[in-house]
Amino acid sequence: MFRYAIGTVEVFDSDTGTFRKASPNAPIEFEHSLASLSLWESKWEIPFLSSPDLTSEQTLDYIKCMVVTKDIAPDLFDQVTEHDVHAISEYIGKKNSATWFNDPPQTSNNRQKITSELVYGWMVQLTIPFDPCENWNFNRLLTLIKVTNKLNTTDDKKRKMSRSELAQRNRELNAQRRAKTGSQG
């Protein structure tokens, strides 16, 4: 959940001689979730994640879809600043998870466009409940889907490292460890 005050601008504080962020509005809560994505896609009928060049109107509308706080003033979004868009975009890009993956380099050229219905489909397939997961941070939900998918993959279907990948990995680890321990091997 991202708590943020719309209308934030940088103002100069003459007392401290520094710039600080200030907004005339109270902070409200946002979430970049599957629910917000679904709401936006049902309106604009284009895949949000595969559309890199959104118009200002589309971007502003997605910010509205992200709002979780109830009963906000209707004219609040007239005050959205560039700083606000930047701060919210930064939150959308955050991983929001402590999990990481050691995936092999991608060789296939996957042209599948990810839409909210496709993600709902994955959730059905992996028996991940819509509630509360559709309201989770979207990147966190994608991580959960990926983890569940990996856990369902049997050992014999996991991709093996090639000899060159193994040799490369061994060389790198050996060099790192020797540098760290000061050992000759």
Partner: protein, 255 residues
């Protein structure tokens, strides 16, 4: 005739811990120089072969044909010396430029395993293991994709061996020298050869030379067939039923 006794104090032994690892790249069938392998953590010995093929005639088993024995295993390490790269099929074209898919150099290996007992503890004695004619290949590994920490990942190689001649015996790829039975002075002489001393570089003596060095005592220089001796309590518990021959020996201090 003396009465048999079981579980006498000091006779319950076990084997653990790998240390003093030395790599000896092979040059023309000899192992003229050794390099300390500090990062060696585990050597799992996996002899194979020696499988019986029963022959029957007239509904009676009259012969067991036994296949040749081979010695191999797995080496695991945290780090390895530069000299092992040639054994792993890598060559340095110029400083900082390495190339793969080169011929893998044969190598010899020596390492110690600690022998403990119920009265003296872990430092009761040790065995020096010598391996000849080893050829390494990286162990197969799948991408462990979720939260796979590279910090704990062991570097691992499978190795196979080509036996070398032993005077008076069949060729073997491994010798085990037990500090409990070899004369201390002879053992010191052998260690001076294995680990180097003064101006003499460390080298791996061939079995004939090992016998010469320690032959004056009641040396127990065993080919790998004797690794499953009853006093080696570390033997794989499954080895007895023929399902596995692996004998993992892990460096506990490094883990």
């Amino acid at each position: 005739m003396p009465t048999l006794e079981w579980d006498k104090a000091g006779e319950k032994t076990y084997e653990t811990g790998v240390d003093h690892g030395v790599l000896y790249p092979a040059v023309s069938g000899a192992y003229p120089e050794g390099f300390a392998w500090n990062g060696l953590t585990t050597v799992t010995e996996s002899p194979s072969g020696a499988e019986a093929s029963p022959q029957y005639a007239d509904n009676i088993k009259y012969l067991n044909l036994v296949s040749a024995e081979e010695f191999g295993g797995t080496i695991e390490a945290f780090t390895y010396p530069d000299e092992f790269e040639a054994c792993d099929g890598t060559a340095e074209l110029a400083p900082g430029i390495t190339i793969g898919q080169q011929a893998r150099q044969l190598f010899g290996l020596s390492y110690r395993t600690k022998v403990g007992n119920d009265t003296e503890g872990q430092d009761f004695a040790y065995k020096i293991h010598l391996v000849y004619g080893a050829l390494a290949a990286p162990s197969e590994k799948a991408y462990a994709t979720v939260n796979d920490s590279p910090e704990a990942m062991a570097l691992s190689w499978e190795f196979t061996t080509t036996p070398v001649d032993v005077p008076g015996f069949k060729p073997t790829a491994t010798l085990v020298i037990d500090s409990r039975t070899v004369d201390a002075a002879d053992l010191a002489a052998l260690e001076a050869v294995l680990y180097g001393s003064g101006a003499n570089k460390a080298k791996l003596p061939l079995p004939a030379e090992v016998v010469t060095l320690v032959g004056g005592s009641q040396a127990r220089v065993a080919s790998f067939e004797s690794l499953s001796d009853a006093d080696t309590a570390f033997s794989d518990p499954e080895a007895g039923d023929g399902t596995s021959d692996s004998t993992p020996v892990q460096d506990q201090s490094a883990s």
